[in-house]
């Protein structure tokens, strides 16, 4: 089975993000692999362990994609790690576009059976890339999944619904986005990281993507801090909330 995993990186500490003259300044940011992508890599590696002979390729499309991101995917068990080098990507559409192009370049006509992506990147939280990528590859999409069982031909998936759970029967090919709860990503020790460093990182250059569909116009730091009104006793608190009209809707 051929499995492609799309990974990206996010700021380790969001507080290191700065805004200068209405534009984002990410120069002081330390990057880590997007936590949702760790579930995707872990699930890919588990499938590879279940079905020997499978090949897992991790792709990262981010101009800042550091070596560490790709090496982490290799240390977790990916067979190959590919950096998709492009101009700065301005929206989810462009990100999905360069990933789709890279997947087509790597796999040719035989697209991978499975493409795994994290549910969303924790920095911008659009959660659009997996579904857009599926559309561009002409593959069906589902997610975010919290359980995945495969017998090699068919898949049983679970995903959260509003106020419940959906069970889905599916077959390959498929694009799946991964949710917390799907697995517990393995920790990578010194040995795995040293092994990963021996493997070569691949770079492919993306073409110039089509225009973005959404543009960032400006950004500002949020420094809002509410002034908390403290109550001394639960009775006083209940009184304050009542006065503020917060129980109005309760009996309606």
């Amino acid at each position: 089975m051929n499995i492609a995993v799309c990974i990206c990186q996010v700021p380790d500490l969001p507080s290191s993000v700065a805004v200068v003259d209405g534009a984002l300044d990410l120069s002081r940011v330390a990057w880590v692999m997007n936590p949702y992508d760790e579930y995707a890599v872990e699930e890919a590696v588990r499938l590879k362990e279940q079905f020997p002979g499978s090949v897992v390729i991790a792709l990262a499309a981010a101009p800042e994609a550091g070596k560490e991101l790709l090496q982490k995917a290799l240390a977790m068990g990916a067979d190959r790690a590919v950096e998709v080098r492009s101009l700065p990507l301005q929206d989810s559409f462009q990100a999905a576009w360069v990933l789709a192009e890279a997947i087509r370049n790597i796999y040719g006509k035989e697209l991978p059976e499975l493409v795994l992506c994290g549910r969303e990147s924790l920095d911008l939280q659009n959660g659009s890339v997996p579904a857009m990528l599926a559309g561009m590859l002409g593959m069906p999409f589902t997610g975010p999944v919290t359980a995945l069982r495969s017998d090699g031909e068919r898949l049983e998936l679970e995903r959260e619904a509003d106020g419940g759970m959906e069970c889905i029967d599916a077959c390959y090919p498929l694009v799946i986005s991964t949710e917390k709860g799907l697995n517990i990503p393995r920790k990578t020790g010194i040995r795995q990281i040293m092994e990963a460093r021996k493997k070569s990182l691949e770079i492919i250059s993306a073409s110039v993507p089509p225009d973005p569909l959404v543009r960032l116009r400006s950004a500002e730091l949020v420094l809002s801090r509410k002034s908390c009104c403290f109550a001394a006793t639960p009775a006083e608190l209940a009184g304050l909330l009542h006065q503020a009209g917060l129980f109005k809707t309760v009996q309606e």
Binding site: Q125, M132, M165, R215, F230, A238, L241, A244
Partner: protein, 323 residues
């Protein structure tokens, strides 16, 4: 002139609360500006399902039994065609789990600008202000494509739109959109229990590590049911196994926008606060007077949740009885 298409999400034959909200909000804006509004709903409906929808416009109803639990692939195919045939300029979708899955499919298929989680602004301006980087940055996004898709949660004030008019419902033939070998089949939906999703709750009582254990959440259940709200949890409470992940509020959980949010034993890490940026009133109960949650709270009380909450329950009962 804008032409809005509202996706009316159906579950068990009824239109979801979020979709009703979205419909009414779009109607309100469209009435002021003279814009046209249509709706689309897939799956069989109960006779009273459209009773909460007011205003002018057409609702396209694809009533096929097979669309009771539609895959986003089929919905995307239908809507892409409908939008093209009707020449809609704006599509508005409620930010539910289904809506969030559908919107990017549609944005890709239509080459449309997807704007989600907008906290301010009107549909007409198209400018979307939303929080990014754990709520620490407020960004303004601008659509660059002809067609725009708005993914709307409950971040914005609910509309009190009323009208003597009613939309009229027409049958939409979805048969051409079914593909014989659809490789995704939704087998079943198991409602965890009858509770509605916390993403829709108007009042949320949430607990964190300070609750001390799984059993203590009974207190929060009691307070929540008294107020007619839902129970949420912080990441640490979920990681401890005290609550399911579906209850988690914050960056790796849900973003919520209740009128009242009561945080119990939650210290207020920036990742948790990221899920609350749209809550209207925040109340914090914590034993540490320096906990960061108090900086994000409108009202606070310093004390042990296991003592404060039972007392608060009694006081709230008293207030409600007097009403």
């Amino acid at each position: 002139m804008a032409y809005y298409l509202v996706f009316l999400e159906q579950r068990d034959g009824f239109i979801s609360n979020v979709a009703v909200d979205v419909w009414n909000r779009v109607q309100q804006e469209a009435t002021q500006s003279g814009d046209k509004v249509s709706g689309f709903v897939a799956g069989p409906l109960k006779p009273t399902a459209l009773a909460d929808l007011y205003g002018n416009g057409t609702i396209y109803h694809a009533s096929d039994e097979a669309l009771a639990l539609p895959s986003s692939t089929v919905l995307c195919r239908i809507l892409t065609t409908l939008v093209a045939e009707e020449a809609c300029s704006d599509i508005v979708i409620g930010a539910t789990v289904t809506g969030k899955r559908l919107a990017p499919c549609l944005a890709e298929a239509l080459h449309a600008s997807l704007l989600g989680g907008c906290t301010g602004g009107s549909l007409q301006s198209g400018l979307c202000r939303r929080y990014i980087y754990s709520g620490l940055v407020l960004a303004a996004y601008q659509p660059a494509a002809k067609i725009r898709i708005f993914l709307q949660g409950r971040e914005q004030l609910r509309s009190a739109f009323m009208s003597p008019d009613r939309p009229h419902c027409v049958f939409f033939d979805a048969a051409p959109f079914f593909v014989p070998h659809d490789n995704l089949f939704i087998r079943s939906i198991t409602a965890g229990d009858s509770r509605r999703s916390i993403a829709e709750a108007n009042i949320i009582v949430a607990g964190g590590r300070g609750m001390g254990g799984k059993d203590q959440f009974v207190l929060l259940e009691e307070l929540a049911s008294l107020l007619g709200g839902g129970v949420g949890a912080s990441r640490s409470a979920v990681d401890e196994g005290w609550r399911p992940h579906s209850d988690q509020i914050g960056q790796t959980g849900k973003s919520v926008a209740p009128d009242l949010y009561i945080a119990c034993g939650i210290s207020g890490a920036v990742q948790h606060l990221a899920g609350l940026s749209s809550a209207r009133t925040v109340v914090a109960v914590n034993s540490d007077p320096h906990a960061p949650i108090f900086d994000a709270a409108d009202y606070g009380i310093v004390g042990d949740v296991r003592e404060v909450i039972p007392a608060l329950i009694e006081e709230v009962k008293e207030v409600l009885e007097k009403k």
